[in-house]
Symmetry: D2
Subunit: 348 residues, 4 copies
């Protein structure tokens, strides 16, 4: 298997967009004060304000797990609970970092499409004031979800209102926020603070950045002392300008949305082609850059010999295919062609 | 103050060495499996083995605090104590991350030169087996130290033997390991595992890398399950190849030592020039890339208006000046010239 | 409401059995070395060995949450997960202490009767070796369960075998272990280590003790360094003899089983009487000292004005009634009489 | 060695005062709601208010380590530091519980007499606002100290003022608070909140209680959500009435002060007698119930064969002798007689 062939395994198997790499090179001029007290970081934060609003408080960190964990740690004490769908990245893919480093309990809600609903959350909203019970404090959602689906602003607002009615906060894991924005044709602000989100992990590594994530607090009273939490949380980069420069470029001229749109579009193409193969069942609406599909186990194995990708659910024989900012039409056609050959062979 | 003027504030105010930047660009070819399961990471680990020995187990992480904390967490349980000099980075500069994230107690030893001695450590070696007392488990040293001094291999060996005699382990914070190696004209292996070190944080960001640090275990039985600790510890980079590529370049053709030598040499030049100014007292032997000096408070303030650097000790009016891989003779001369003018003005 | 009237709210609303109080008074002779290095503690451990086997390692702690958390902390590292029924005390009633103080993730299994099944556990047994996934390490069950049901030795053995096949361990919350033993007419050893349990929280406060709980490791290699974990875990009592004396008395002449039998018997009587009231539905098999029943919301409220007890499930109008070692036939008759009057009034 | 002979090892080697034991027996009447929602707990809190003031918020916990750790956890976040003398119980005798369970750094101040001074604390009061530095937040003192010395109200006030000027808080470990009050002939309020203390661990187990400690917040805004921290912190006792009843008795008719006075008085007698032996050097002012003395190593060993006590400092051959509420004049005379015989033998 040629690993460097563009895979459909994950959007973080792709590399760095040339404009991002150029921004890093450009930032490499002389000395700059470390830890973010430099002009590039200041400019990047300004760019964030353009997109998310003047009142934000934004902090760059190394990666997505760090962004989620420290953002949650900032708004929850250890006796609190965090409610998320059972498909959440914070529940499945961070090796228990949220529990270990926030001290909080995670409460999960079953979900077929990766989304939380008001009804689903409500069954965990009890025991307030009862000292034996972890106190519900945060609702956490991913936009786009781990299943490639996208919350509408109204759906987010409903969850935000539910949270706020109970003195709780709404956290968003935005590792693929731009894919969601591109899918909805909405602005970043509209689907975050505009819909009631309180704290956001705003990622870029799945959409053309080399490294870096940003924790954004939409109200300044939420971020008090966060700089200490970031440093103690091992997420303060010394040569900060090189993350900031990426974000500055990423947010300029809507590069972030253009890249996301491209990834979404090729996912759509892939889905459209795959749908023509009757033996393959697409299991989730293809709203961002993921395609989930059920196909025969033997076909999966044969296909994996040629393309690297992950089986999502062994039991149901469901796979996940993801497109990246650099996936193009030819890549999709190659892959689809390969799928067809394998399916024909298998079905024959 | 022109911040981008090469400062003598810190070796992480410098940028990225061109060969490192080139390595990043070269690594940006097509897709690669995320999280380190890629050929560049494999090659970088091979390079580490060339320098540190075949038997190592090495893990890339984001930064120095993460490397120290997770390396220590791996070898100590929360009821253990970690003995370090009171000048240690893990004690002063990581915002309590070691305590919070390992659960261990830090026990400090007074030190004039940033180094631990056998005698200094021994006063903490009691209470073994007594359940009310945090059990001494790790001795942690920095090489080079935070005061720019360098342990000889024999000094390290003495501490390693002391540790091992008590069932303890020796941890080394090697944020400036190459500066120490350059100073001693020794190999990296010789001053680490060759001298009895068990676990090492091997940094590069203070010597020309953009980002990244490496936790190296010198015996495989020490590293069991560390991959989970790294992921849970928010230090697993998705696009790992871009850190690995830096290390591969850094360790090729002894780039790491050449850069460190350069920084050490300019620190030596700076010290030699400053020594000629009788009103300035150099307070530490200049063995690596740091110069510590006492000068009049008013002179410090005037000088800081032109060059950014840190006061190390307000009380004693002591400053720290650091050189970087990119500091050159002209930078030193400019700075010395400025020091002379300020001192003359102040002394007049 | 007369609170000191024997309530059916919880078995820890009862007081201390006279023999236990006498043992405390008897232990109050002269001085004894603190923290457990005294002859009474030695004798109590000997009693534990009589019941649980020679090879145990036993540690007294203050209470049930401490016993569960520290027992689990001893056998799991933070990157591990702990699988329990969604009704577990460790999940619902310890305010997130297990997550905060072990660092582990809790994974829950839906359960109608408070018990785990092999099938229920198996859906969490995946992702072994995958660093993004909390590694399954412990299965935790309560005996008797929080719903008053009791595992047979065969059911425990099946879960133990499942755990051990996967390199995992079986933990038992035995806050009501004696009630289970009495229900099964089995020995304490038979339903713990005899059935494959690795670590046990052995409580007594719900069965006539004043305070105290015991963490029992059934294989000595599991308990290394636990004395430090207990002390650091704030669970080492200074005047240990006064907990040990209780356990010595509790385990002498099978007092523990006699008291449990009494509580179970009155629960049985209560259930038998309540079953005669057709409008009340008993929802769980009454195997130990709890009766779960659904009755009209208005009846619950009226009844609560006279007897203190808890609503288990607001939605289904289900209550929990518990009997204690000191509940007698008259108490049951009083309570049943009251229930009848209330139900008649409500139904009229 | 007859262990039950009244030892001079520790004040928690003594038993329970009869009035306390009686209070426990009296509390054992019928049922009471668990976890503190009972009339005895209400009365005990009322008694605390009589002694400490109406505005307190008080919480019973199991023991001293729990009281200290949870009190500190309540007022400090993990990025904070806690300043204490190097002799502090929280630093030496709690197996690192404060670091592990609060996440904070402990900063120690050298101390010859167990007390903190304003000057000693001040050297740690820097780095405010600097994110690399644990932020100083709490000053913690023990009253009486671990060396048996006692702070005057003025000394406490000076430390409180220092703390408050820096936005910090003053915590007091009052495991032997009554001994200090007795020594000063002062009220409990006068030497705590009256002198500026913000949070207190108020112990009794070293002065005649069986078990239990109380965390007292002197301003209600400091205690928000503490009930969750206590429960999650494994320090919520189910049968709370039995701790509360002890405190009610302890605080009635000044029993607590009478017992402390007795212990102090016998320590004074012991010191007076020992001072007559010229070869023994008393090393600390005997202000409460401890006597620290240097005597020849061989004499220590011989004496320990007859009386159990601890060597405080192996190097200096210093021992600690403590008296308890139940130590009487005859005990002192026996012990002194034994010391004399041993010293004579050794000196001959």
């Amino acid at each position: 298997m040629n690993v460097s062939r563009k895979s459909f395994a994950s959007d973080n198997n792709s590399g760095v967009h040339p404009a991002i790499l150029q921004a890093i090179a450009t930032a490499n001029e002389g000395h700059a004060i470390a830890y973010g007290d430099d002009p590039i970081t200041a400019r990047a934060v300004e760019k964030l304000r353009e997109h998310f609003g003047e009142e934000i408080d934004a902090y760059f960190v190394y990666g997505g797990t760090g962004a989620n964990v420290l953002g949650l740690k900032q708004i929850a004490r250890p006796h609190h609970s965090i409610i998320c769908p059972e498909t959440a990245h914070i529940h499945n893919d961070e090796c228990g970092a949220p529990e270990h480093y926030t001290g909080c309990k995670l409460l999960t809600v079953p979900s077929n499409d990766g989304k939380l609903t008001v009804e689903g959350v409500q069954r965990h909203l009890h025991g307030f004031g009862f000292e034996h019970h972890s106190q519900p404090k945060v609702i956490s959602i991913s936009q786009a979800t781990e299943l490639g689906t996208v919350y509408t602003p109204e759906e987010i607002r409903a969850l935000a209102d539910l949270a706020h009615r109970h003195g709780m906060l709404l956290h968003m894991d935005g590792a693929r926020l731009c894919n969601a924005a591109a899918a909805l044709d909405a602005g970043l602000r509209e689907i975050t603070t505009g819909a009631g989100v309180d704290v956001l992990s705003f990622g870029g590594a799945k959409n053309g950045l080399l490294i870096g994530e940003c924790v954004i607090f939409f109200r300044k009273e939420l971020s008090a002392d966060f700089k200490f939490t970031r440093k103690q949380g091992m997420q303060l980069m010394s040569k900060m300008r090189f993350v900031a420069a990426q974000y500055e470029a990423y947010l300029s001229g809507d590069l972030c949305l253009r890249l996301a749109k491209r990834a979404n579009r090729t996912a759509g193409s892939l889905a459209a082609e795959v749908e023509k193969i009757p033996e393959i069942q697409i299991t989730q609406p293809v709203q961002s850059n993921a395609v989930f599909a059920i196909l025969p186990k033997e076909a999966i194995e044969e296909l994996q010999r040629q393309f690297f990708f992950y089986v999502w659910n062994e039991e149901t024989s469901e796979v996940r295919w993801m497109t990246s900012f650099d996936t193009n039409g030819d890549d999709v056609m190659d892959f689809v062609q390969c799928i067809r050959i394998v399916m024909n062979k298998y079905l024959r």
